[in-house]
């Protein structure tokens, strides 16, 4: 098993005919993800040519795709002006999991879209996230399938390539993963650290969790309190942005130290206080995980 996805996951790709959507659909199918449908308004009735001669039907809308295929998850590659609408469409269609890869979605759009998804009972991952990969199962999003290997470690991160780095180092020493989740770097994200930690705690195959945070907000601090109170499994932390100056956005819209709050030093201290060993550099993650599993 793993978190958020399983053997029953049937995926729709929203924006399947776009440049990113089509490229990553192929990647996901090559990894073995059950991509059952694509959605591009106006292209209903066409089909997407996947790897190995597989063909994916394209629909005009999520309701048509879900009605025809029984899909229960969607991944969103549509451009920013339409991304919040696509998330609401997905939530309205009844899928349980909506993974929004799109970067650059206006935050006020997301405030509404998140409220809508909550009203509809759908889990949103992202936006502006790399998605997730359940090792040996479904890969949804843009995480590279080549760097993971099966094993007992859950990984959750606000970052993309920094996650790859951490996973790559784990894999290179033989520490495999259950699920790797990128929750995204935006200020308003649908699934946060606590949601993932809770799921990893419940997942019988996960024995330890790596949590990769960064400056901005208090998600890591809240997660640390959650770990202390509710988790039996060991968690290892890393925080990026120790050298980031206050008041400046570091790439991610959410990665900004506002006034006195949200610094890396504060987060690292709070993690340690709550019993979460914090790696000083990415290369130290492997050692801490080994200790945790020992």
């Amino acid at each position: 098993m793993a978190i958020f996805t399983n053997a029953e996951t049937k995926l729709v790709v929203q924006g399947i005919t776009g440049r990113d959507g089509s490229f990553h659909t192929t990647q996901m199918m090559e990894y073995g993800t059950a991509v059952v449908a694509g959605v591009t308004p106006g292209k209903g009735g066409q089909s997407f040519k996947g790897p190995g001669g597989k063909s994916v039907p394209i629909f005009n809308s999520m309701d048509q795709a879900v009605a025809a295929t029984g899909a229960n998850a969607s991944v969103i590659f549509v451009p920013p002006p339409f991304a919040a609408g696509a998330i609401m469409e997905a939530a309205d269609s009844g899928v349980a999991l909506v993974i929004a890869i799109t970067e650059g979605v206006p935050v006020l759009d997301m405030a509404r879209a998140h409220a809508f998804a909550r009203d509809r009972g759908a889990r949103v991952l992202g936006p502006n996230c790399p998605g997730l990969i359940t090792v040996g199962g479904a890969k949804i999003g843009i995480l590279p399938g080549s760097i993971v290997t099966p094993g007992p470690v859950g990984v959750v991160s606000r970052s993309g390539t920094l996650t790859y780095e951490a996973v790559y180092q784990l894999t290179s020493v033989g520490l495999g993963q259950t699920t790797c989740v990128g929750i995204g770097g935006d200020p308003l994200i649908g699934t946060n650290f606590i949601d993932c930690l809770e799921a990893f705690e419940a997942d019988p195959e996960t024995s330890a969790v790596v949590m990769i945070g960064e400056i901005g907000g208090t998600d890591e601090q809240d997660a640390a309190a959650f770990v202390k109170e509710h988790m039996s499994k060991p968690v290892v932390g890393f925080i990026a942005g120790q050298t980031a100056p206050p008041g400046r956005r570091m790439g991610h819209a959410g990665a900004i130290v506002s006034g006195a709050g949200g610094t890396a030093a504060e987060k690292m201290a709070v993690l340690e206080e709550n019993g979460i060993p914090v790696a000083k550099r990415p290369a130290d993650i492997v050692g801490l995980v080994r200790e945790a599993l020992a």
Binding site: L108, I142, A240, A244, A253
Partner: protein, 380 residues
């Protein structure tokens, strides 16, 4: 994107918020003229995207036009936290009874716009929130309904006892929310919101940050960008589609991904160096982006060495390596460059780089250590 005070005030005025008049001067003579038009006694305020203008001497009260001219002469051209002042706002000096704080921003925890108000205005609201939280009232706006009238009243009622002040402020808070939403804002604040001896409520300072992701659909707001007020390197980076933040160190960093870029900076410090910048070139292997990144990094005179840290991921490493090699062929660089490239097809990539004469690594630690050593060597 941050707006200048005078720009935020324009947005507020358009929403109906009472904001005293004010005009921009770019010369001392212009400031003098505006002070005359405004009746003589004015405040001269530096327009820069930085807090702490007052402490830095960027805000001065002038008793008459001649003083306004003198203050403007002192302030124009001044540097405040590395930013040069090109414009001053000339605005009448107001009689102030009380100063309050009213602000709205996007709150991560509630995933909604959140108001913060305090009767302790005019000073840093975070300090107030931290030291005397009882002086703060917070309100989460349900994005499904927007700010409701009774919520605006509830906030205003926390600031004042006088019904007339509450009524004026209720209206201002509703207008501030409209302005916040209609500007595609991530933060809008009035600090201070003053009351005058005659019982009026006015916004005499204004701040607004625009969500960059809103700019495409708000051309009138996007047009407010003042490139002259930001470091030229950041303008260049933005136009090239790069995320760049200048820092004070000497190791230039060129990384793909924001999280990895921060971790790379941190690792530079871990090995005893100091990063010269944050720079995220994104997932592309486009040589143009690499060229732009190198131009920006090398324009910083502090930079002594340059390191690339690229995790191939979905993008194939050999593509990225070819992009780097092509970029290097298009510009001349004095500083030593070290490159780390890992991920899909890394062996091919390393060969491409070595063939082109660049030191290439697969370990992040090794490349950072080397870049720090090179920077220190250059100093010695």
């Amino acid at each position: 994107m941050d707006l200048h005070e005078y720009q935020a005030k324009e947005r507020f005025r358009a929403a109906g918020i009472p904001v005293p008049p004010g005009e921009i001067a770019t010369t001392p003579a212009g400031a003098e003229k505006l002070a005359e038009d405004l009746g003589g006694k004015v405040v001269v305020k530096a327009q820069v995207h930085s807090g702490g203008r007052g402490k830095a001497g960027g805000v001065k009260l002038a008793a008459n036009p001649a003083e306004a001219k003198a203050h403007a002469a002192a302030i124009l051209g001044m540097e405040i936290k590395g930013l040069t002042v090109h414009k001053v706002l000339i605005t009448p000096a107001e009689d102030i009874d009380t100063e309050a704080y009213v602000g709205v921003l996007i709150d991560r925890a509630t995933q909604a716009p959140t108001f913060i108000v305090s009767a302790a205005g005019g000073i840093d609201i975070e300090t107030v929130a931290h030291e005397t939280p009882e002086k703060i009232r917070k309100l989460t706006v349900d994005p499904r309904y927007g700010l409701l009238p009774h919520q605006a009243y509830w906030l205003a009622d926390f600031l004042y006892d006088d019904p007339s002040l509450i009524k004026q402020t209720t209206k201002i808070i509703a207008q501030l929310y409209d302005s916040f939403v209609n500007s595609g804002s991530s933060m809008a604040e009035i600090n201070p919101l003053i009351t005058t001896p005659s019982g009026e409520v006015k916004a005499i300072d204004a701040k607004m940050s625009i969500d960059d992701n809103e700019l495409y659909r708000r051309p009138e707001v996007a047009a407010m960008r003042d490139s002259s007020s930001e470091p030229p390197a950041e303008t260049l980076a933005r136009e090239a589609g790069l995320s760049y933040v200048k820092l004070d160190g000497d190791v230039g960093c060129c990384v793909n991904g924001a999280g990895l870029a921060m971790a790379t900076m941190d690792l530079v410090k871990y090995y005893g160096g100091a990063p010269a910048n944050f720079l995220d070139i994104g997932g592309s292997s486009n040589p143009d982006k690499v060229v732009a990144a190198l131009e920006i990094i090398t324009a910083d005179p502090n930079v002594k060495s340059i390191l690339f840290n690229i995790f191939g991921g979905i993008t194939r490493c050999d593509d990225v390596a070819n992009g780097i090699v092509e970029a290097m062929s298009r510009i001349d660089i004095e500083q030593p460059i070290v490159i780390r490239l890992t991920g899909t097809n890394e062996e091919i990539a390393l060969k491409i780089l070595k063939d082109a004469g660049f030191p290439a690594y697969t370990s992040m630690d090794a490349v950072v250590e080397e870049a720090v050593k090179l920077a220190k060597g250059a100093e010695a």
